[in-house]
């Protein structure tokens, strides 16, 4: 079967997420793919980036030769600080999350359930060394948790599931999933469509996900 639709590229997906970040928002972009969102923030919106290691007002990567490894992001890569930016200790940084002060966080995921359970820290594989970092704090802390991921695994299985089989990061915490094929809302009643790529039919999307999606 020839596909009549095109997947969003990683940059297109990052731009799609960025489009929904409102002027004045304080946002935490998780390690990996979500970091790309910073490159697509719409001009004319003032958006403050939070980094869990104690930065508000995080700026882009420094020019080559100007790296300062006392000024790094959560992925431990060198960044800069914008005018108006601030440093603070770890307990304050996570109080900003748990205390509901962070507007949005964007995270990667292995699986998301239709009702917004998130699995993104461990595949539960035997012998793997576990590492959680700030994933659990971010997932339940931000006012809105968005996930950015491919809809399907490399094997073609949906990463949106009725129930996560991987170890959970948080319960009912994901509000939206931005994927290469569609943007979906997770609600207590299940999935709801926000948008999908041109040429992908509603029934076809439901078939890929294997779950009903309210239009």
């Amino acid at each position: 079967m020839t596909m009549s639709y095109q997947r969003r590229t990683k940059d297109q997906l990052a731009a799609r997420v960025a489009q929904d970040i409102f002027d004045g928002a304080v946002v935490n972009l998780g390690i990996g793919q979500p970091t790309l969102v910073a490159n697509h923030l719409p001009a004319g919106r003032e958006i403050i980036l939070h980094s869990e290691n104690g930065i508000l007002g995080m700026g882009p990567a420094p020019a080559a030769g100007h790296e300062d490894y006392d000024l790094i992001n959560a992925g431990k890569q060198p960044v800069t600080l914008l005018a108006g930016g601030a440093f603070f200790h770890h307990a304050d940084s996570f109080a900003m999350m748990r205390g509901g002060h962070l507007d949005i966080c964007v995270l990667g995921a292995f699986q998301v359930s239709a009702t917004g359970d998130l699995a993104n820290w461990s595949t539960g594989e035997a012998g793997a060394i576990p590492a959680v970092g700030g994933a659990m704090d971010l997932a339940i802390g931000a006012r809105q948790t968005w996930v950015m991921m491919d809809l399907l695994t490399k094997k073609g299985e949906s990463k949106i599931v009725a129930q996560c089989s991987y170890p959970l990061t948080g319960l009912g915490c994901v509000k939206r999933v931005y994927s290469d094929l569609a943007t979906l809302e997770c609600t207590p009643a299940g999935l709801k469509l926000i948008d999908k790529v041109d040429g992908l039919g509603h029934a076809e999307l439901e078939q890929l996900v294997g779950l009903p999606i309210a239009p």
Binding site: S51, A91, S93, F94, A95, V132, M136
Partner: protein, 233 residues
């Protein structure tokens, strides 16, 4: 006269006993007090429990302490990194115990110890493996897990400037766990790059008041090295 300035790292580290719980500041390589960790290796205490966000980068600093076989248990949020080979090897060989704690819980449990809090209910990790079998409670419709403080016998932290009363300021994101760890240990030892006269630090800008600090040691500035991620080829 109050004088918390130690003449040397060795002087500051004297008397740390075997079996101690050592809080070590830093996130990746930023804020890691490498000179104090080297001093701890030199000093010889073993059977340690170490609390740090990570579990060592490369072969130096915390990784070297692990490699020297001094650490029985590590409490951290993110042990596995691109350059955590020393920890990975010990863990796989069953030679080190790991207590994995979400990063914000790690910070808050340390803060709680410093603030005299007996335990607290925290929403992070509810319904996950990491909540273990700890008590949970529903408060105003939200679910929480009971978390206990993490207290240190010693805290080793890195700051930027200090004075003889132990007041500290930090540098950029190298502050990270320093202020909360300073509060939470029986004995807090900080390195600084500059020791200044009393009154030279703007009292409006002091981050860690000297009451939380026992010893400060001046060290030469060495640019913080990259660590914790895989460099693009």
């Amino acid at each position: 006269m109050i004088d918390k300035i130690a003449r040397s790292v060795a002087d500051a580290m004297a008397g740390i006993p075997d079996g101690a719980t050592v809080l070590i500041g830093g996130f990746g390589t930023a804020g890691i007090p490498n000179e104090l960790i080297d001093g701890l290796i030199e000093q010889g205490a073993c059977d340690l429990t170490v609390v740090n966000n990570n579990a060592g980068n490369g072969e130096t600093g915390l990784a070297a302490l692990l490699k020297a076989g001094r650490v029985r248990k590590i409490i951290c949020s993110f042990p596995r990194q691109a350059d955590s080979q020393v920890f990975d090897g010990l863990y796989r060989a069953g030679k080190i115990e790991l207590e994995l704690v979400p990063q914000g819980n790690l910070a808050e449990r340390i803060r709680a110890a410093g603030a005299g809090i007996g335990a607290f209910f925290c929403p992070t990790g509810f319904g996950t493996q990491l909540a273990g079998d700890r008590e949970t409670r529903e408060i105003d419709g939200k679910h929480y897990v009971l978390e206990y403080p993490i207290r240190g016998d010693v805290a080793l932290i890195k700051a930027e400037q200090g004075d003889r009363w132990g007041n500290l300021v930090y540098r950029k994101a190298a502050r990270n766990f320093g202020p909360v760890m300073a509060m939470a240990a029986e004995r807090t030892i900080a390195t600084v790059h500059e020791i200044v006269e009393l009154g030279a630090l703007d009292p409006e800008h002091i981050v860690t008041p000297g009451i939380f600090v026992d010893k400060i040691v001046r060290i030469d500035r060495v640019a913080t090295e990259a660590g914790g991620f895989r460099k693009a080829a």
